[in-house]
């Protein structure tokens, strides 16, 4: 390295234009701030060439002193500006080539939302937006709310469709569907004059465990009770939901079915086709290989007009009020939209699966 005197042009006591040019050239050669600082001391410092030359002015006659003084001041200003510019340039110097910015960051990797959380959030956002109120109820129910009030008395064969878990030492059971919340909401209806628009969501339990059934799964349930509702409104409501949920121009098929708590009852199928590509009906995710539209049908939900016996059981005058209700399996909707294949993996907590099918917490629930 040059040391402190490096690049200093020794001119004393006067300073020619040539000297200034030489000084400026020397400034161009410095490569870091430390060298620039040494250059400044050499030229503009107390013992620098400019300072010495200025000091030497007093020995000159007045007229020459004035002319030289102006010239020297100009030179000092030039050198000072050049110095500042050089320092600024050195400070903004681009990093050297050696740094490897491709090294991966060490931030904590983001965790994820479970697909059920995501899908329930999507459904909740839709129905809250439509003006339905959310209602929750106990997961351990009694036969009255889970069956009897829903037109499933003890001998009803439909009870066999719900293989039920019972709690030891009593008649309490794990709810087999979220429809029990309907009953509670209708019975608790505050404004008797007004209609009731509610939905519920949460885990339900059935004593069944194989490739396509898990003993616990999630349902979303909706109910509208008012004075002038019919199957057409039910169709309109569900069509709007499916369009919003699947995000496309969905084709739905309503076909007659049976539920003890609705009449007429329907099951709803969605039109789809199989593709070679990956993805669920939502056009995203896994290896489902499904696409919206086509000539195959897949069941997505059950619905119907609330059975008059259910209204009566909830102390609602069925000659005045009518309603529609619907229920859907959240896992099934998730699988259709996002293309997961194995139902059982939803409850396995496999880190690999959760990281693959999980949702970013801030891009996630709307």
């Amino acid at each position: 390295m040059c040391g402190l005197v490096c690049g200093v042009v020794m001119v004393a006591p006067s300073l020619s234009d040539k000297d200034v040019r030489a000084a400026l050239q020397a400034l161009e050669q410095v490569t870091d701030e430390q060298e620039a600082q040494a250059w400044r001391v050499g030229h503009l410092g107390k013992k620098g060439a400019v300072t010495l030359a200025l000091r030497a002015l007093s020995a000159l006659p007045l007229q020459e002193r004035k002319a030289q003084g102006r010239r020297l001041n100009e030179a000092r200003q030039r050198l000072d500006e050049a110095y500042r510019a050089r320092v600024a340039a050195l400070q903004n110097k681009q990093p050297s080539e050696e740094a490897d910015w491709s090294l991966p960051i060490t931030d904590t990797p983001m965790g994820s939302f479970h697909p059920i959380e995501q899908v329930m959030g999507e459904i909740r956002a839709f129905f809250l937006g439509q003006g339905f109120a959310f209602a929750d109820g106990p997961q351990i129910e009694d036969e009255e709310h889970n069956f009897c009030a829903l037109n499933m008395p003890e001998d009803h064969p439909a009870r066999q469709m719900h293989d039920t878990f019972y709690v030891q030492g009593g008649t309490r059971l794990l709810r087999t569907h979220t429809s029990s919340v309907q009953v509670r909401a209708m019975r608790a209806r505050q404004v008797k004059e007004g209609g009731l628009y509610m939905f519920s969501a949460g885990p339900v339990y059935r004593r069944d465990y194989d490739q396509t059934h898990t003993p616990m799964f999630h349902q979303v349930e909706g109910l509208a009770v008012d004075k002038a509702l019919d199957m057409g409104h039910l169709k309109g409501c569900l069509l709007a939901f499916c369009r919003s949920f699947f995000g496309g121009d969905v084709a739905l098929r309503f076909r007659p079915s049976f539920f003890p708590f609705t009449e007429p009852s329907a099951e709803v199928d969605i039109a789809f086709s199989r593709t070679d590509k990956e993805g669920g009906l939502g056009g995203v995710g896994g290896e489902g290989g499904l696409r919206l539209g086509g000539d195959e049908w897949m069941e997505i939900l059950g619905c119907g007009m609330v059975h008059p016996k259910v209204l009566q059981a909830c102390d609602i005058d069925s000659s005045q009020w009518r309603g529609f209700a619907f229920g859907m399996g959240v896992e099934r909707l998730a699988m259709l939209k996002y293309g997961m294949r194995d139902l059982r993996m939803f409850f396995d907590s496999d880190m690999r699966w959760l990281q693959h099918y999980g949702f970013h917490p801030f891009a996630a629930v709307p």
Binding site: T106, G111, L128, P138, P256, P264
Partner: protein
């Protein structure tokens, strides 16, 4: 319900194709799960008879079989099946046959020096079953040369119709044909005229006396037995066997097969008794406590009192409408039979079926409803079929009860207005009437149907209300014709609504926004959300709760026997599973319901988390990759989570009454009652129980015990414009002091002086052996009113030092 295409054609005259019929059935609410096509790849395989068997010259287990086919065609094959015998009819795949699943057509093969021209086939080789132990045996009455698909009954298309529980009237071929005809898919063919109805009474001794005892009246509306003498219990003819097999009904002998065939054909279950094994009169009565009954499934059941049974003088013959008994069952030796056609109440049949856990085709139908009015006709047709196929002579029947339903069929109103009101479809009155009439509903006395009402046909048990008739009209008219109407919740309703409500005792009402916020914080901290079963093993539950957990009466397994008292169980199980899969480091969280104190009504709601393994992933800059997670990782998670729900002051003062599943160094959050969360290290025994290795930290928030999120209220605050001063203090202590205690002292000084803005502990040192320790405290002083003067700073510092000395015994270190 399996619907065999050719069987349907015996009842329905229709031009529609299989696909069209299937589509129509779905549109009518009779879902078609599958259409199983006929096997058309078996035409080359045909029936032959084994004429001669010789030993194979070069193999002990193989034999040379000479066969004879149609037109006296003959050949020889090598066969190793143990069941081959002279006279056996079986199926031969000749050379050149392309069998399903085989790469190439069958070639003439030389097996140990002998040429085999073709192959006698096992069910597995033909792809018609799993049995590979022997060759298929074909009944001796099947003509030689019959193609395999005909001989096996695989030449028919079968529709698998999934019946909903209400449509038992369609649990027969006749019922489905009736439904299709009503929907305009063809004409229902009249049943073949009966040559003669049975004679009632017969001649004295020939007929078995029957009675419905008083206790059983109301549960059995009608009971009849027809006696047929001199039958031969031989195998059924092929067409009956084919029809039954196609419906997944096993074949026994013609006596049993005919009763099954008639049940599938007309929907009315029947039973056939061996008349010689019935002693005296037959009565329908209620069972007595512990009366023994050996059912046809081979099991002996001690009956409960009060089940509906059919009994003779000695014992129970059958569990009415559910299953017959072994003692009176038909065998190959049966000569005389009693054919039963009866009507049992759904509740009685359901009760016995449930009591014994028996699920049968008969129970299925009686439980949902069987038409009583056709009982005598069904009995007559069944007996006629039996006499035709099994020989014998019917000796007349005896009966008790009545074939008129005890309740008159209901009359229910429905017209175009009703259809429009519920169905949202505008139809002409004539359309409504046309549909209902075609379905068998009869306009009541009033004439037009409509307001006067419709009389429900005797075979329908699912029609009780006007809405049921609307459903009938809609499904025949077609659900696709219901117009979708714009739907919106009325404005007034929207404004009046409470966005979230919880019903039921003890059900916490949680804010979705609050829970979602917690999830976001958890996920942002690297925790993945998991979902586990709400039920866990008893031992695991006991390890995670105080008192006894809530047990299920009928769990799926011991691992799913009780309702979880804590979410930690699911997370620790997940941790163990992931560790076994090689995930040595991970982090999970879950929120969901828990049941505390073993009470069904104590449904709580928690959020829990677990971290295991190293603090950090191995990484070029990672410093904690070798260190396991510790209690402070859990504490950090917990306080960040709590902070998302509410304003948290301080970070807990230490150890109070910890749940026993946490190790000593754990702590609880929130001194005030109720305690809202715990965090810490699981005890070693808990880790052993869940089979977890290495460093683990966990925590659980009791969300239902947290205060509900409320609008945040801010005290007014203006940032001070005056300079802040940082003062560091190092205190030496002669005995250990908790950081919480030191911070409490600082807080008191802050309250007193109002000049402390921030405080942190920057150093903690403990002398390994001795009790002595020191803590470094950094305090930022700032006044809201003025620039702090040197004296003031000195005063505050002195106050702090004095307070620490007095309350914690701390001495300011020199320098």
């Amino acid at each position: 319900m399996k619907l065999v295409w050719s069987w349907l054609q015996r009842h329905l005259d229709s031009d529609l194709s299989v696909a069209e019929v299937a589509e129509r059935l779905v549109a009518l609410g009779l879902e078609v799960d599958a259409v199983v096509a006929a096997r058309d790849d078996l035409t080359d395989v045909h029936v032959v008879e084994v004429e001669r068997i010789e030993a194979h010259p070069n193999a002990d287990r193989l034999r040379l079989c000479s066969w004879r086919g149609a037109d006296d065609k003959r050949g020889t094959v090598v066969c190793g099946a143990p069941n081959v015998r002279v006279g056996l009819r079986s199926l031969l795949a000749p050379v050149g046959t392309q069998l399903r699943g085989w790469d190439k057509p069958l070639r003439a093969a030389t097996i140990r020096g002998v040429v085999s021209e073709g192959m006698l086939c096992s069910p597995q080789e033909l792809g018609v079953g799993d049995d590979a132990s022997g060759i298929i045996a074909i009944d001796s009455d099947v003509p030689l040369g019959t193609p395999a698909h005909t001989a096996l009954g695989l030449d028919d298309v079968v529709l698998d119709v999934a019946l909903t529980p209400d449509r038992v009237d369609c649990a027969s071929v006749r019922g489905l044909a009736r439904e299709l005809a009503a929907a305009g898919c063809g004409t229902l063919k009249p049943l073949e005229p009966l040559e003669s109805l049975l004679a009632q009474g017969g001649t004295g001794a020939d007929v078995t006396p029957v009675a419905i005892l008083k206790e059983a009246q109301g549960l059995c509306g009608f009971f009849s037995l027809c006696r047929i003498e001199g039958v031969a219990a031989r195998p059924s003819p092929l067409w009956v066997q084919k029809a039954l097999r196609a419906c997944d009904v096993g074949c026994h002998n013609v006596l049993v097969d005919v009763s099954n065939y008639m049940m599938l054909d007309l929907g009315h279950p029947l039973h056939v008794y061996d008349a010689e094994k019935v002693c005296g009169a037959v009565r329908v009565r209620l069972s007595k406590k512990n009366e023994p009954f050996k059912a046809l499934d081979g099991e002996t059941y001690p009956l409960d009192a009060g089940l509906l049974v059919v009994a003779d003088d000695n014992s129970v013959l059958a569990l009415a409408g559910v299953m017959g008994g072994v003692a009176s069952g038909c065998s190959a030796q049966t000569r005389d039979v009693l054919v039963e056609c009866a009507h049992f109440a759904p509740s009685a049949v359901a009760k016995s079926g449930r009591a014994l856990g028996l699920v049968t085709d008969s129970r299925y139908r009686f439980e949902r409803g069987v038409d009583v009015s056709d009982s005598l006709e069904v009995l007559a047709r069944s007996c006629a079929m039996l006499v035709t196929l099994a020989g014998g002579k019917d000796k007349g029947y005896s009966a008790a009860g009545s074939v008129t339903p005890d309740k008159e069929q209901a009359v229910i109103a429905c017209n175009r207005e009703t259809v429009a009101t519920y169905g949202g479809v505008e139809l002409e009155e004539a359309q409504v009437q046309g549909i209902l009439s075609a379905l068998g509903f009869v306009a009541d006395e009033g004439g037009e149907g409509g307001k006067e009402g419709w009389r429900v046909p005797s075979w329908r048990f699912d029609i009780h209300e006007s809405q049921d008739l609307v459903a009938e009209v809609l499904r025949v008219h077609g659900y696709e014709h219901i117009p979708a109407k714009a739907f919106a919740v009325p404005q007034a309703q929207m404004q009046a609504r409470v966005e979230s409500v919880a019903y039921g005792a003890g059900v916490p009402l949680l804010s979705h926004a609050g829970v979602t916020g917690l999830c976001r914080v958890a996920a942002a901290r690297g925790l993945c959300q998991s979902m586990s079963w709400a039920f866990i093993g008893l031992e695991q539950a006991r390890a995670l709760c105080v008192g006894e957990p809530l047990q299920l009466a009928n769990p799926l397994s011991q691992e799913m026997a009780v309702m979880r008292p804590s979410l930690l169980a699911g997370l620790l199980l997940a941790c163990a599973r992931n560790q076994k899969r090689g995930f040595t480091r991970g982090a999970l969280f879950e929120h969901g319901a828990v049941w505390r104190e073993g009470a069904p009504d104590k449904q709580g709601y928690n959020l829990a988390f677990v971290r295991w393994g190293a603090k950090e992933e191995r990484h070029w800059r990672a410093k904690g990759a070798k260190e396991g997670v510790d209690v402070f990782d859990g504490k950090a998670d917990l306080y960040q989570l709590l902070g998302a729900w509410m304003t948290v002051k301080g970070q807990g003062q230490g150890r109070y009454a910890l749940p026993p599943w946490y190790q000593g160094s754990s702590a609880e959050a929130g001194k005030s009652v109720p305690i809202v969360a715990h965090y810490g290290i699981p005890t070693a025994s808990l880790c052993r129980l869940f089979d977890i290795e290495g460093a683990v930290v966990m925590g659980e928030l009791y969300l239902d015990k947290l205060p509900p999120p409320s609008q945040r209220v801010f005290a007014s605050y203006v940032p001070s414009p005056y300079q802040a001063v940082r003062q560091d203090f190092s205190f030496d202590f002669a005995r250990p002091v908790r950081a919480g205690a030191l911070l409490r002292v600082v807080e008191a000084v802050r309250q007193k002086t109002g000049l402390i803005r921030e405080v942190s502990i920057f150093d903690v040192y403990r002398d390994g052996q001795e009790q002595k320790m020191s803590m470094g405290l950094s305090v930022v002083l700032q006044s809201q009113e003025e620039t702090l003067r040197a004296e003031t700073i000195k005063d505050v510092s002195a106050t702090l030092v004095a307070a620490v000395a007095k309350q914690c015994g701390g001495v300011l270190r020199d320098g």
